[in-house]
């Protein structure tokens, strides 16, 4: 409770050396600081671990990735109803045209 209520700024500079409240307050500040520090260290460790992990991944060139993408599209183009269209009789969403007898 004390930690949040007082800060050394509340105390006159000439008195701070003898002030017990200031002593407590600065210990509290150091405690908060070291708590924050250990959180930051943990976070920094996590970040570095993740970056190390990502750095050792083997990468291929975009030219290879692009070629593979293109090959897949070409290979499957025929089976893509939205690309090549399917006759109304086969597509359940297209209305079947009925014959009109004139």
């Amino acid at each position: 409770m004390l930690f949040g209520l007082f800060s050394t700024a509340d105390c006159h500079p000439d008195l701070q050396a003898d002030c017990s409240v200031c002593a407590l307050s600065s210990t509290a500040a150091k405690y908060r600081h070291s708590n924050n520090m250990s959180n930051s260290i943990a976070q920094a460790h996590k970040t570095v671990d993740q970056l190390r992990f990502e750095a050792q991944i083997e990468r291929i060139r975009v030219s290879k990735a692009a070629a593979d993408l293109q090959a897949y599209c070409e290979q499957h183009a025929r089976d893509d109803p939205l690309l090549v269209g399917v006759p109304a009789s086969e597509n359940p969403f297209k209305e079947k045209k009925s014959c009109i007898v004139l």
């Binding site: 570095v48 750095a55 990468r59 291929i60 975009v62 070629a67 499957h76 109803p81 597509n91």
Partner: protein, 352 residues
């Protein structure tokens, strides 16, 4: 003593920060080196995509509020949609009929999902939970059998069943994703790494060991479902990532973002390989899906339209004036014959 310890930790922190910087520059350099060519240039010799013949085939009316999400059933015929009005509707899309209307106790159901077996629906949103309902044909009152299986500390943005149907993946405004067992409601794995709301997820179509998440921290991440580890992280967008979808090979994916662009990322090249945008496009892209062959990309936008892109040539090949309000969700049917879009105009439409 305390002062010395504090100084040590400061030095450690400094060293770690320096190492992080070095690693980041190294990663950037590696990614730059692999960027030897542009996808659109590789595809320049390809024939143009045939002119699109898509028209609206069904208009599903029934919600009284904004439609926020939809999911197809594996039977290619039914779909489920959820809305701001607190209702989850199961539709027979062929017949344009409402099969079930489920009422949730809260409004803003931001996500809904169909189980692979077709007899369970999952949904949730601002209630921070994921709830499941059995919907077998003979069940009279599904609301009575509903169960909560996931709890987050902020809104649930997306839920999707894993292929087996025994587990559900959720993403949340609490910056995490989580994997839950459907029967026991146990948390199986949680995924930490994003620094802001996670808005969308997509499970790999190929092996189900990985999934993607998109976040308002402007990054998309690939996760190992078993270990909880973030395998890759991709940046590049200038705004929240609202939608992610795997390419059919599972080796690339597309994203839709608040910055008005969609992008294609390749997992093996570990970088962005294409950008889909036009100067006049300033409205957020909210949802995205890819056709069966991977050649066409459909994206829904806040300007009420769905734009169709040639994935390889990186050009727009169609513009559908789809709805009377923002398009919020879009999904291709499992057999690739149709695309369903949902909107703030309270309707869902089927295009084929």
């Amino acid at each position: 003593m305390a002062a010395v310890a504090a100084e040590d930790t400061e030095l450690d922190l400094d060293a770690l920060r320096k190492e992080a910087e070095t690693l980041r520059s190294r990663l950037e350099e590696e990614r730059r080196k692999s960027n030897d060519v542009q996808l659109r240039d590789v595809a320049s010799k390809l024939e143009l995509v045939p002119p699109l013949q898509m028209k609206v085939r069904r208009v599903l009316k029934g919600h009284q509020g904004k439609v926020l999400d939809m999911d197809w059933s594996t039977d290619k015929r039914r779909l489920v949609s959820s809305s701001q009005d607190g209702k989850v509707i199961v539709w027979d899309a062929f017949a344009n009929k409402q099969e079930r209307v489920l009422s949730m106790p809260t409004t803003w159901i931001m996500s809904c999902a169909f189980s692979p077996s077709g007899d369970i629906i999952a949904c949730g949103g601002l209630d921070n939970k994921c709830t499941v309902f059995p919907i077998d044909k003979d069940l009279e009152n599904p609301e009575r059998k509903r169960r909560t299986i996931a709890m987050h500390t902020s809104f649930m943005s997306c839920c999707r069943f894993v292929k087996s149907g025994y587990q559900i993946l959720t993403s949340s405004g609490d910056c995490t994703c989580a994997l839950w067992d459907v029967d026991s409601s146990q948390l199986m794995q949680s995924f930490h790494g994003h620094i802001s709301d996670v808005l969308c997820l997509d499970i790999s179509p190929v092996h189900c060991r990985t999934f993607l998440s998109g976040s308002s921290d402007k990054t998309a991440s690939l996760w190992d479902i078993r270990t909880g580890r973030c395998v890759h992280s991709f940046d590049g967008h200038d705004g929240d990532i609202n939608g992610v979808r795997f390419f059919p090979t599972g080796e690339s994916f597309v994203t839709a973002s608040d910055d008005g662009t969609c992008r294609l990322y390749d997992l093996r090249a570990d970088r962005e390989v294409a950008l889909y945008t036009k100067d006049c496009m300033i409205f957020a892209a909210t949802c995205v899906d890819i056709s069966k062959s991977g050649r066409l990309m459909f994206a829904g936008y806040n300007d009420y339209t769905v734009n169709v892109w040639d994935v390889l040539k990186c050009v727009r090949v169609g513009r559908i004036y789809a709805h009377d309000n923002k398009v919020t969700c879009l999904q291709r049917s499992p057999d690739g014959t149709a695309v369903c879009s949902g909107s703030w105009d309270t309707t869902l439409k089927l295009w084929a």
